[in-house]
């Protein structure tokens, strides 16, 4: 029975005594306490709260030392890190180079990461606080990848749990020790969590970085419904929401007690025109006509409410491959002319698919594009579907025109092209999401070469050239880079400082009034 009622300490009451509580609402919560279980935005957000990476991105895409105090390139395949001293894990264990090596080894086993860490070799522990990270070949993105190395407490995760299962097991779908327990060095410790419902994270008292944020507790609630999430903020039930649906930007901006922070993001939204399915797409003029028929600036202005950046290429600003001076392409008259030239004045019918709950306004964008294509007499049979069903269909290339959004896990231009525009190749895995079946050997060559280039300037030039080729060849229909958005109550003091283009706010640095 319920004879003994154990009253759980009320979070609100407690926080009044101990310090500041940040009530955080996210569209989806982290799926696990194990940072390696999945590579996703949510997990990275979590990792930055509970763990610390060796280095991390600053707001302007520079590297900032965290657990690594400094680093130097020893040789083209070796990067030496000097680790911070006196850091302890949540378990109380001290942090050493061994933990870094252990974590890297685990990353190389993790399904979601093994591809990314494929260029990495065995690290060499120099001493307790020095480690050499090796790559098997010269690799331009070693530091980028080190932002994903969140050292885990190797002692804590070694051995077997009370079920007799190994503690270090990385399991996606079932119970594992790491899924339910954490020991990182990060600013917060998970004190309770109910997946999909509520997380409570408390400040780690022995956190090494003393002069930083003042949030003593984070209560994280996933709220999937956009409108409800916004309502919760407006009603003062939460302090911080992310993401913010674009349609509510105006309202939040207009509301006194809350503020909206936006930032051009790096996820590009595009449509791919499948040349294998539609003969006409092999004709560059038709592709051009499609691209020119789509008023992506208009879409940004109306559907996205101006809160997105129109794109004409994959790479966003700040990325190596970004070309600053690409001209807008929308030109309906020219598009019509091109269709006529190509012999398709009467147009034709294409099928199109898009998800309806994956990207910001994905369904509406697809509809708008369909309406725009109608103007060049292309009849679009549009189908939208939940993301759960979308990817299978996307992979099967069921439609002539398919929407895809992409964010580079490596925060680098090459990643876009490798996945979206490279010639599909089962062995290398390139062009895995190239449902256009667009293939331009020159582009592939350039990107491949850039991968081995450690001179950053040269590398950038190569990537830019590849991007320009795609632009000139009308390889895909670019739309925009999604805006990243957060909204917070005015209690939050330095919200602008902790956010970044990767969409993992550094809540450890947050200050609240």
């Amino acid at each position: 029975g319920c004879g003994e009622q154990k009253k759980e300490e009320a979070p609100k009451a407690e926080s009044a005594v101990a310090g500041k509580t940040l009530r955080l609402a996210i569209d989806a919560d982290p799926v696990s306490l194990d940072p390696h279980v999945q590579l996703s935005g949510g997990m990275l957000q979590y990792s930055h709260m509970v763990f610390d990476p060796l280095v991390r991105w600053t707001k302007d895409m520079k590297f900032e030392p965290r657990l690594a105090e400094s680093w130097e390139q020893v040789d083209p395949t070796t990067l030496r890190f000097h680790l911070r001293k006196g850091v302890t894990f949540h378990s109380g264990n001290p942090f050493t180079a061994k933990d870094v090596a252990w974590t890297l080894a685990r990353l190389k086993q993790a399904i979601d990461y093994k591809g990314l860490y494929e260029p990495f070799g065995e690290p060499v522990i120099v001493d307790d606080h020095t480690i050499d990270i090796k790559t098997v070949r010269p690799y331009g993105l070693t530091l980028n990848m080190c932002t994903y190395i969140f050292p885990m407490d190797s002692a804590f995760y070694t051995g077997t749990d009370d079920k007799g299962l190994p503690k270090d097991a990385n399991v996606k779908t079932e119970y594992s020790f790491a899924n339910g327990n954490e020991s990182g060095t990060g600013p917060f410790m998970v004190t309770s969590y109910e997946p999909g419902q509520k997380w409570v994270l408390k400040r780690f008292p022995n956190y090494w970085d003393k002069d930083t944020g003042n949030v003593s507790e984070i209560v994280l609630t996933p709220i999937t419904e956009d409108a409800t999430r916004v309502a919760a903020l407006l009603a003062g039930d939460v302090d911080w929401i992310m993401p913010v649906p674009p349609q509510d930007y105006a309202r939040i901006r207009a509301t006194e007690k809350v503020k909206l922070i936006t930032m051009p993001g790096t996820r590009v939204i595009t449509f791919q025109m499948n040349v294998n399915r539609v003969e006409a797409f092999k004709d560059k003029r038709v592709r051009e006509a499609f691209v020119r028929a789509v008023n992506n600036v208009g879409i940004v202005q109306t559907i996205m409410k101006g809160d997105a950046t129109p794109a004409f290429q994959n790479s966003p600003q700040g990325y190596a491959g970004h070309i600053a001076d690409l001209a807008p392409l929308y030109d309906l008259e020219k598009a019509k002319q091109l269709m006529k030239d190509a012999g398709y004045e009467q147009g034709f019918t294409v099928s199109m698919i898009a998800p309806n709950n994956r990207y910001v306004n994905d369904e509406k964008i697809a509809q708008a594009v369909a309406a725009m294509l109608a103007k060049i007499n292309v009849k679009v049979e549009l189908r939208t579907m939940p993301k759960a069903q979308f990817w299978d269909e996307f992979d099967a290339q069921v439609a002539d025109v398919q929407m895809i959004g992409w964010h580079a896990d490596t925060e680098d231009s090459a990643n876009y092209i490798e996945y979206l525009n490279a010639c599909p190749n089962k062995e290398t895995g390139w062009g895995q999401y190239n449902s256009a079946n667009y293939c331009n050997a020159k582009v592939d060559e350039l990107v491949l070469a850039a991968g081995g280039e450690t001179d950053m300037a040269k590398r950038a030039a190569m990537l830019q050239e590849a991007e320009r080729m795609l632009y000139d060849d009308f390889a895909f229909i670019p739309l925009h880079w999604q805006m990243l958005s957060w909204a917070a109550s005015n209690k939050v003091a330095n919200a602008e400082e902790i956010i970044n283009v990767m969409d993992f706010p550094y809540f450890g640095d947050l200050n609240m009034e």
Binding site: E8, I111, G115, T173, T224, A235
Partner: protein, 325 residues
């Protein structure tokens, strides 16, 4: 009695078999869970391997048979997202839904009985007309619209009531956190239960009114009046007790509707119960959880109806003696 129990059990089994087949058919089609649990840049081969590992590549009958085999032992599969047995997840979400349903039921019982009786006794009074008018408006507004309007008015507009979630909870006993014992929890309960009430209450008012009207015309009511009993005794003991039976029966059937409506209500209010869990499971292609939920709901439905029939037997002496027809 014996036949009744056997029939119920076989019905329950049948219901759950059907659900599991249909659930499985959907599961096959609702999307690829592997997609949901891996990052986007994981290679196709890796994914295929994971799929094999999870048995998702087996033919439908094999998967179904495996599911049944485990289900018999009480194992409804593992939720990919929660990384726990699906049944466990459902049970952990059940209190939220049950509290919502309970609060709604309490409101419904407290309101529908007096309102229904009043409307039956005084059908021409303006208050009855008001009840009936309001109730027909109530059933005509879809529950999600009601929910949206409530949020719009009371949370966003007036800021009186919290807009989402269950608020502050207290552990009643392990596995059951209740919002009934805190002011915050109760405040959070107000709007979701109102939304749910708005669609269910009219049904019961109308039902009670109709049944009561019929009962009031019966000979035994006339006889009770002729015996010189007090009006309240005539209404409540002689009238309402007879009305109760159909109301209970319908109430049992309506529970299914109510559970369906919780899906909508919970989604709008982010009430973390079984309903929103189900919708999220669909979105996440967490297929085991989906199937488990459907089977579970089927089970609850059959159980509740069985209980309702048993209660019916307690109230109605004719059933008690004869055994169910």
């Amino acid at each position: 009695m014996f036949a009744f129990i056997i029939r119920r059990i076989s019905q329950a089994v049948l219901v759950m078999l059907v659900i599991s087949v249909i659930g499985f058919a959907i599961k096959q089609n609702v999307g690829d869970p592997v997609r949901e649990i891996t990052g986007i840049s994981v290679s196709a081969a890796e994914r295929e391997q994971l799929r094999d590992q999870l048995g998702l590549n087996d033919p439908f009958p094999v998967q179904w048979a495996r599911f049944l085999g485990k289900a018999v032992q009480g194992d409804l599969g593992n939720s990919f997202y929660f990384k726990r047995p699906a049944l466990e997840v459902i049970l952990s979400k059940a209190p939220a839904t049950l509290e919502l349903v309970l609060a709604t039921s309490i409101i419904i019982v407290l309101l529908s009985v007096p309102m229904g009786i009043y409307a039956a006794v005084k059908p021409k009074s303006w208050l009855s007309r008001l009840f009936m008018g309001a109730s027909i408006v109530g059933v005509s507004i879809p529950v999600f619209l009601t929910a949206i309007l409530l949020i719009y008015i009371f949370s966003v507009g007036l800021g009186w009531l919290p807009s989402y979630g269950r608020g502050q909870l207290v552990t009643l006993f392990p596995g059951w956190d209740t919002g009934f014992l805190t002011k915050d929890g109760l405040l959070h309960l107000v709007m979701p239960s109102l939304a749910l009430t708005s669609i269910m209450l009219p049904l019961f008012i109308r039902l009670i009114r109709a049944e009561m009207k019929e009962v009031l015309e019966s000979e035994y009511i006339k006889f009770a009046i002729a015996k010189g009993l007090r009006p309240w005794r005539v209404l409540l003991v002689h009238g309402f007790k007879n009305t109760l039976m159909p109301v209970i029966t319908v109430g049992g059937v309506q529970l299914g509707t109510m559970i369906a409506f919780t899906i909508l209500t919970e989604t709008v209010f982010q009430w973390k119960g079984m309903g929103s869990m189900f919708i999220e499971a669909v979105e996440r292609a967490d297929s085991s959880l989906m199937v488990a939920y459907l089977v579970f709901v089927g089970f609850v439905f059959v159980t509740v109806n069985t209980v309702v029939d048993l209660i019916y037997g307690l109230v109605n002496p004719m059933v008690r003696v004869a055994g169910r027809k």
